[in-house]
Amino acid sequence: MNAVFYIAAAVAVVSTVMVVTRANAVYALMYLIVSLLSVALIFFVLGAPFIAALEVIIYAGAIMVLFVFTIMMLNLGPKAVHQESQWLSGRMWIGPSILVAVLIGEMLYVLWGGEHPVEGRHIVEPREVSLALFGPYIMIVELSSMLLLGGLVAAYHLGRRVRGDVKEPKS
């Protein structure tokens, strides 16, 4: 299982780098999907099959589809690719590189003294996740559901057609 973890982690890192460096938005999104799938595999190996399934269903299967959908609607051509590749060159790499270097340093420090990430795992079943969510964390669940409802109502308000503005199709 250790090998599975390291391979999945390597795929995640490589595909995430590809997300940043691709000039074509659809390719970048496809790499991001691969990255999310490998993170799901890492969750699975670490003993959280439920979270792994949610990662695939929600992130890779729903949120990223919406991103792809939007990019498809915009239907960007070669011009956008050219523009994007101009943005990627030169000095804009300096800031992110420093920040990433700090994170790598921290991670190395933690790994130095900490436990091995894969060993000593304990499998978390869907039952345990839901007992935790609807037990001690019930307030957070309720608050986030209120937030989602608020977002939904706002989206409906923004997307609503004003009467007499455009003729609505009969359904």
């Binding site: 659809v26 496809m30 999907i33 099959p49 439920f50 792994a52 399934a53 949610l54 695939v56 269903i57 890779a60 299967g61 729903a62 589809v65 919406l66 792809v68 959908f69 990019i71 498809m72 609607m73 239907n75 079943e125 869907p126 199709p169 359904s171």
Partner: protein, 317 residues
């Protein structure tokens, strides 16, 4: 050692049966459609026209596999592979009989939902990479349709999960020993069947490939075996949805006298014929009707089912 061999035999058997079945279903569908529309259907090649499938296969394999020069080549090639891959992967968690089945996952149902949501990329990317207006419109329609119908597809299954107390498909089948879930979860069954037809984009939900307005929708530019993969993927998806309905609502392999595998195959076959009958008898919906039907009727029904089932489960404890 024999455990590994049995496992490999399982994998090979399931794959072999499914791919043969996908070919055979083309024939079954054409003959059944002909029967219900009061005509003969293909009956010239071989006995009862059975060799028509072989002829079609030879034709589709030897056809020129044209990739349009204006398309996005790598994405164009990957798109049909995604649908085949995700549908075949979903079959891994289906329990065909007590000892037959590829994987026994505790999150089996979630695995299926994940795979079906990844299947959306196939049509979306096919539509986008073809670089053709009709294909793009078909891809957009397919994506919006599958995204919307996935929402209550998952919700309609949660009633079954509540009653069985598990996402494991084997546990769900075993929980139906006394009563099939089609009775207490009738609303769930209806919602899941509708969502399943929409996920496989069959008539009456075949808007993404409506030939009267969009040529062939997202697969307009596909030819040869790449088109064949979309086609086979659709038949496999029908089989998958039928097998899942059997597993979740009709007691899976359970039944008297006959061996479990035979029961499973029989039930699935009846449901597949039902799918074909739907295609033979229903007209295509309009796109806005399809969307408002999904969000304004099916979603509330799925939520209502969830609420009632939850209340009953809590009351019984």
């Amino acid at each position: 050692m024999s455990g590994i061999l049995w496992h490999l035999a399982n994998v090979a058997g399931v794959l072999g049966v499914l791919l043969t079945l996908a070919g055979a279903l083309i024939m079954v569908e054409r003959r059944l459609l002909a029967l219900w529309q009061d005509r003969y259907g293909p009956n010239r090649v071989g006995p009862f026209g059975l060799l028509q499938v072989a002829a079609d296969m030879i034709k589709i394999f030897t056809k020129e596999d044209w990739i349009p020069p204006f398309s996005d080549k790598p994405v164009f090639i990957i798109a049909p592979c995604i649908i085949m891959g995700t549908v075949l992967m979903s079959f891994a968690v289906i329990p065909f009989a007590p000892a037959v089945g590829v994987a026994d996952l505790d999150i089996g149902l979630l695995f299926f939902l994940g795979m079906s949501s990844l299947g959306v990329y196939s049509v979306a990317l096919a539509g986008w990479s073809s670089n053709n207006k009709y294909a793009l419109l078909g891809g957009l329609r397919a994506t919006a349709q599958m995204l919307s119908y996935e929402v209550f597809m998952a919700l309609s299954l949660m009633g079954v999960v509540m009653l069985a107390g598990s996402f494991n498909l084997r546990t769900i089948v075993n929980a139906q020993q006394h009563m099939w879930f089609c009775i207490p979860q009738f609303l769930g069954l209806v919602v899941f069947t509708v969502a399943g037809i929409a996920e496989t984009h069959r008539v009456p939900f075949d808007l993404p490939e409506a030939e009267s307005e969009l040529v062939a929708g997202f697969h307009s530019e596909y030819s040869g075996m790449k088109f064949g993969m979309f086609f086979v993927g659709e038949y496999l998806a029908i089989t998958l949805i039928s097998a899942l309905i059997v597993t979740l609502f009709f007691g899976g392999w359970q039944g008297p006298i006959l061996p479990p595998l035979v029961w499973f195959a029989l039930k699935t076959a009846v449901l597949i014929c039902g799918f074909v009958l739907l295609r033979a008898s229903l007209p295509r919906l309009r796109y806005d009707q399809l969307m408002s039907f999904g969000w304004k009727i099916m979603l509330p029904v799925a939520l209502l089912n969830l609420l009632i089932t939850g209340a009953i489960v809590v009351a019984r404890h």
